[in-house]
């Protein structure tokens, strides 16, 4: 009985997705527009291009390795740089009201500059490829980490700080044992936002000035009118976005397991 109920619940969740995909398939088949290939074709292109490799390479094709490697390296390098700088600066700014007041307008402005606008300037300054992508990503995604860290550090419970002082806990130990743990939910929230944003900036930096990567694949496919390949790239980026978010959530839940129990509504 319960399995029947569970089955019904799954159906009640998934019917629309199935319907949408079916409608998409039928419409694109009937319409026969070259720009809009049917989803079955897109999935096939996705599979043959990237995921039909030998088992030894985790089923990735050579093209997949060639496309994913630069993209992922840039994405995670830029994100890591932004994460480290953002947390360090955020802690400094959060601890000092003077520094926070002085830097607030500058940071608000820096945050508001759409990161892609600096790409044309960087094109003249840096080599195409990794240096350009990493700089764009690091500049663009540092803001959520920095501002969230500063906010989290600023709102550390006063009682905890004073308790630490009573017990003579200060300096580095206080930072590591009191301030950072208490700010960690906000830091993680910032890191998650910036990871999603890093994926977006990876795409645009590769669309404009790249020698390789998934963004380059998209432009090549568009310019050579390989529409199924282009759509496959879009779907792939959607899957990646979903996956990153999921993995990050799992890590976050693990790292912050102690926290959500203490303060349920803080994250």
């Amino acid at each position: 009985m319960s399995s029947v109920l569970r089955g019904l619940r799954v159906v009640s969740r998934l019917w629309l997705l199935v319907l949408v995909i079916a409608a998409w398939e039928i419409a694109t088949r009937a319409w026969k527009d070259d720009f809009f290939p049917p989803p079955s074709k897109i999935v096939k292109a996705l599979h043959t291009m990237w995921f039909s490799g030998p088992a030894g390479q985790f089923f990735l094709t050579d093209k997949a390795i060639e496309d994913f490697k630069p993209s992922f390296t840039n994405l995670f390098s830029g994100w890591a740089i932004a994460a480290v700088l953002g947390v360090v600066l955020g802690v400094l700014i959060g601890r000092s009201q003077l520094l926070g007041d002085v830097l607030d307008p500058v940071l608000q402005f820096g945050r508001s500059v759409p990161p892609p606008t600096i790409i044309p300037f960087l094109l003249a300054l840096l080599d195409l490829g990794s240096p350009l992508s990493i700089t764009t990503i690091a500049f663009g995604v540092i803001w959520p980490v920095l501002l969230n860290t500063a906010d989290g550090v600023r709102s550390v419970d006063r009682l905890q700080l004073e308790t630490a002082r009573v017990f003579g806990v200060s300096g580095w130990l206080r930072l590591r044992r009191v301030i950072l743990p208490s700010a960690s939910p906000k830091i993680f929230a910032g890191l998650r936002v910036s990871l999603g944003f890093a994926l977006i900036l990876m795409v645009i930096s590769e669309l404009i000035g790249a020698v390789g990567g998934i963004g380059k694949h998209l432009t090549t496919a568009q310019q050579t009118f390989q529409m199924a390949d282009m759509w496959a790239g879009i779907v792939l980026l959607g899957i990646l976005g979903c996956m990153f978010n999921l993995i990050f959530m799992l890590v976050e839940r693990r790292v912050l397991a102690w926290h959500s129990g203490v303060r349920r509504n803080d994250a």
Binding site: S12, R13, L14, W15, L16, L17, V20, F35, L98, D101, V102, L103, D104, P105, V106, Q108, F109, G110, R111, S112, V113, P114, P115, P116, T117, I118, I119, P120, F121, L123, A124, L125, G196, L199, I200, V203, I204, L207, I208, L218, T219, A221, Q222, F225, M227, M230, W231, G233, I234, V235, L237, G238, I239, L240, G241, C242, N245
Partner: protein, 260 residues
Amino acid sequence: MTRRGTRFVRGAAGIAGAVVIAELATRFGPFDPDDVPPASTVLLRAVELAGDGEFLPEVAGTIRAWLGGLLLATLASVTLGLVLSLTPWLNNAARVVVEFLRPIPALALIPLAIVSFSSVTQSKMSLVFWAASWPILINTLYALRDVDPVAKETLRSFGFGKAAVLLRVSLPSAAPFAATGVRIAASVGLVVVVSTELFAGAGEGVGGFLMESQSGGGRPDLMLAGAVWAGVLGVIANALLVALERRTFRWHTAQTLEAA
């Protein structure tokens, strides 16, 4: 001095300090002055651009596509949010579809938009629409789910119909959070507009202007001045939306706490 006054003075000092440091770094730093112009030159260019007959129409084009897309996304997402929250059987299934579509980065759709629409303005607006819809829709759905059930029941027990409950309780109490979604969508939308212009070229909008100053030798001072203006646009838009939220939802208790 009041807290506000102190903050203002300190902030002004911060801006002045940042400009001075940037100026010193660019004048005496290790960069080639042809690649990295002094900060004062960039600011001068930015001021000149404000009266430039070629730059201003491009800014207007960018703003038009940005606001147009944002407005359409707001209308569509809030309506869809209302419809979904009224029909739980549809809402349940729609959430899965949303979770599949939302992670697709709007910028990955740029090549698709360019081949499907004939004009760059159309591409820009539809991409802003796509990118802006998700934060607004998600915020609207969350807010509508959290509407105080007692308030709804109260109205219902006084004999009000479904439409009245929606109009008098659900919509007003969800509006502040939905507005926060619009603010998030606005900053994402600006990134999308400028990126599309950068990629689509054809010299359209702020992004097109930047790309044109980049090609043919390159004018780094103009490029950075353009980026400064894009940042100013972002600051103004955010400030306007925050002010609008404060004004419109002054009655709302959650407004006293700064929403994310």
